[in-house]
């Protein structure tokens, strides 16, 4: 049977194109004089493939892939906004791509890193930043290690971190990597943290702090946020802000003013650096003045000589990544902030929330909306009440058949059959209206034609794939 897929390895031939290596030019020595035979490999099973075949292979693969540039990508908590093309031009300037991390003539790069920290400081209200973390989760780990070091420096041992049940999985996982254990709080019917539960948990005396995102993963702004941070502070804890949901409050309010001590940002979400299909990202951490000494090395400061590294006095948590962070990702974010400016950034927050509420109002006419209030950048529907045993997964797969991407499914865990929708500010009204039309059509199908959902997707290169088989008998390479 002819397979529907062709791996690149199937296109091997023994052709011998040598297009990418310059001339040797120097006199060679016999290899056995340089290296003993035992160190040499006998066989190199990498195929030789003509350039034209490589190009066609990847063009065809790209045709089987959906990006923001294809259509609406309403993944909740991911902020799939438009990635400006000028950022690509800038990031590819040789004055960036050809700079070695260890070279001395690097003031352009160091100034960029320093200036973006100042910009992010203005946006979030935080006093000091590190651009080292390579992703949001990496930033979370750094933030928690800063908490750990802070308490150690005071001779106090605190071993627990509070997270709400609506938290993203990276929050408890990061806490564990930093050596903490978790106390989970159950959100109330408004999706907010019950203050009495928080008070009780803080009385434990062993709580280093709380990890929160606000707006939370339900898209709801916790109105008592200042109370929450006050309670944690009064009980000797620190407050960590997961910046994955920063988009709606850009230019509207700031995590520092809410009472947070540590903030991580996702440059590849809020600040338009592309998601890359799952990376690379960048997760800078911002802290209040008191925590600046603990930032990871290298930490940049401004002097008369220019931007230099702060002396390492061992207060820092240490190094968390080689070199300077994901510089290429940071360049794009810096360009974005400069391009939008003060008014542009504020508009992002306003329109992100406008677009989300527009979808919310119209979709809740058919679908169940467990937290029925004004949302910020995202909101969560549920499959409860959908007839004929149709699940959220079925709905998501059917959305694909209409040529657009499905929202996030089964997260947050507090909503059964969750369908988490975040349109972002860069979707036009036509795009939003098409999404609503698709969702309404699918709703009718759940009643009239449920097999269309059960058998979805039908219009993709493959039908629904067997995840159980893939996990029971993993085949991870050819």
């Amino acid at each position: 049977m002819i397979s529907n897929i062709q791996l690149i390895f199937d296109k091997e031939n023994e052709g011998n194109q040598q297009n990418f290596v310059p001339k040797m030019e120097i006199d060679q020595t016999e290899l056995d004089e340089i290296l003993p035979a035992s160190l040499l490999r006998k066989d190199l099973p990498i195929p030789n493939i003509p350039e034209i075949n490589i190009v066609r292979h990847f063009i065809r693969l790209s045709n089987k892939n959906y990006g923001v540039d294809t259509g609406i990508y309403p993944l909740g908590s991911c902020t799939m906004k438009y990635n400006p093309k000028v950022n690509e031009t800038i990031a590819k300037l040789p004055g960036f791509t050809r700079i070695h991390p260890l070279q001395e003539e690097n003031q352009g790069c160091l100034e960029l890193l320093y200036h973006i920290s100042k910009q992010l400081g203005e946006i979030t209200g935080m006093d000091g930043f590190t651009l080292q973390p390579a992703a949001g989760a990496h930033g979370e780990l750094v933030g928690l290690l800063i908490m750990k070091k802070y308490f150690e420096s005071k001779g106090i041992k605190k071993q627990k971190i509070i997270v709400p049940d609506s938290a993203h999985g990276t929050n408890p996982a990061s806490a564990k990597m930093a050596g903490f254990s978790i106390i989970e709080l159950i959100s109330n019917e408004f999706g907010e943290i019950p203050l009495d539960q928080l008070e009780f948990a803080m009385q434990d005396g062993n709580v280093a702090g709380i990890m929160l995102t606000n707006p939370n993963t339900l898209g709801v702004f916790d109105r008592q946020i200042k109370e929450i941070t006050r309670i944690v502070h009064e009980n000797g804890g620190l407050c960590y802000y997961d910046g994955a949901n920063l988009n709606p409050i850009l230019g509207i309010c700031r995590p520092r003013d809410m009472g947070f001590d540590i903030v991580h940002l996702n440059l590849h979400k809020t600040f338009s650096s592309p998601h890359g299909g799952g990376g690379p990202g960048s997760g800078p951490i911002g802290v209040v003045k008191e925590l600046i000494p603990f930032l990871p090395i290298p930490c940049l400061i401004s002097t008369e000589k220019g931007i230099v590294c702060r002396e390492n006095d061992n207060k820092s948590i240490g190094r968390i990544k080689a070199f300077w962070g994901n510089f290429g990702v940071i360049v794009r974010a810096y360009a974005y902030i400069l391009a939008l400016g003060s008014e542009g950034l504020k508009k992002v927050g306003q329109i992100a929330v406008l677009n989300a509420n527009y979808l919310r109002i119209l979709l809740q006419q058919k679908y169940k909306l467990p937290y029925n209030r004004i949302c910020q950048h995202e909101f969560v529907l549920s499959d409860q009440g959908i007839p004929n045993d149709i699940t959220t997964e079925d709905i998501a797969k059917r959305i694909l058949d209409y040529g657009i991407y499905a929202p996030t499914i089964y997260f947050p865990l507090v909503v059964p059959g969750a369908l988490m929708i975040e349109p972002t500010e860069t979707e036009s009204k036509q795009s939003l209206d098409y999404f609503i039309e698709v969702m309404n059509k699918i709703y009718e199908e759940t009643k009239q034609n449920p097999e269309l959902l059960k058998n979805a997707p039908q219009n993709m290169p493959v039908k629904r794939l067997d995840a159980v088989l893939a996990a029971r008998k993993p085949i991870l390479h050819d």
Partner: protein
């Protein structure tokens, strides 16, 4: 939802079932538990000879969408594990009480058996959870 609740077994609040025969206990997860997991893809079993206290994690059960622990209902030494689960973890779904058994242990504290639940008590817990 109709789950199986075989007689002749003891149960734990953490959804294990226990068959006591003389001084050996055979342990697995209940029909309710396997249903919560969905299709089981992998079970990580302990080694024979390992000793665990009641309440500790003896085995890890993975499905596509979840992961959970088999909690030791009694303290003791592992004297047998179900090797078939390596190739066919789906036995836990199809036959949770018979072919999907997980561990056999020689329990050290017989008094701990009194702390286990009867089939009726366990049924009650499930009925409450479903509401």
């Amino acid at each position: 939802m109709d789950y199986e609740f075989p007689d002749g077994l003891k149960y734990a609040t953490t959804h294990e079932w226990i068959r006591i025969e003389n001084s050996i206990a055979t342990v697995g997860i209940t029909d309710y538990a396997q249903h919560q997991f969905g299709d089981i893809v992998f079970v990580e079993l302990p080694e024979v000879g390992m000793v665990f206290e009641k309440g500790s994690n003896a085995a890890e059960i993975e499905s596509v969408k979840a992961v959970g622990d088999l909690i030791m209902p009694l303290s003791g030494e592992i004297i047998g594990v179900n090797q078939n689960l390596a190739d066919t973890p789906e036995l836990v779904n199809s036959s949770p009480f018979v072919d999907g058994w997980m561990i056999k242990l020689a329990f050290s504290h017989a008094s701990e058996i009194d702390e286990l639940l009867s089939v009726d008590k366990y049924k009650q817990i499930i009925q409450n959870e479903e509401h």
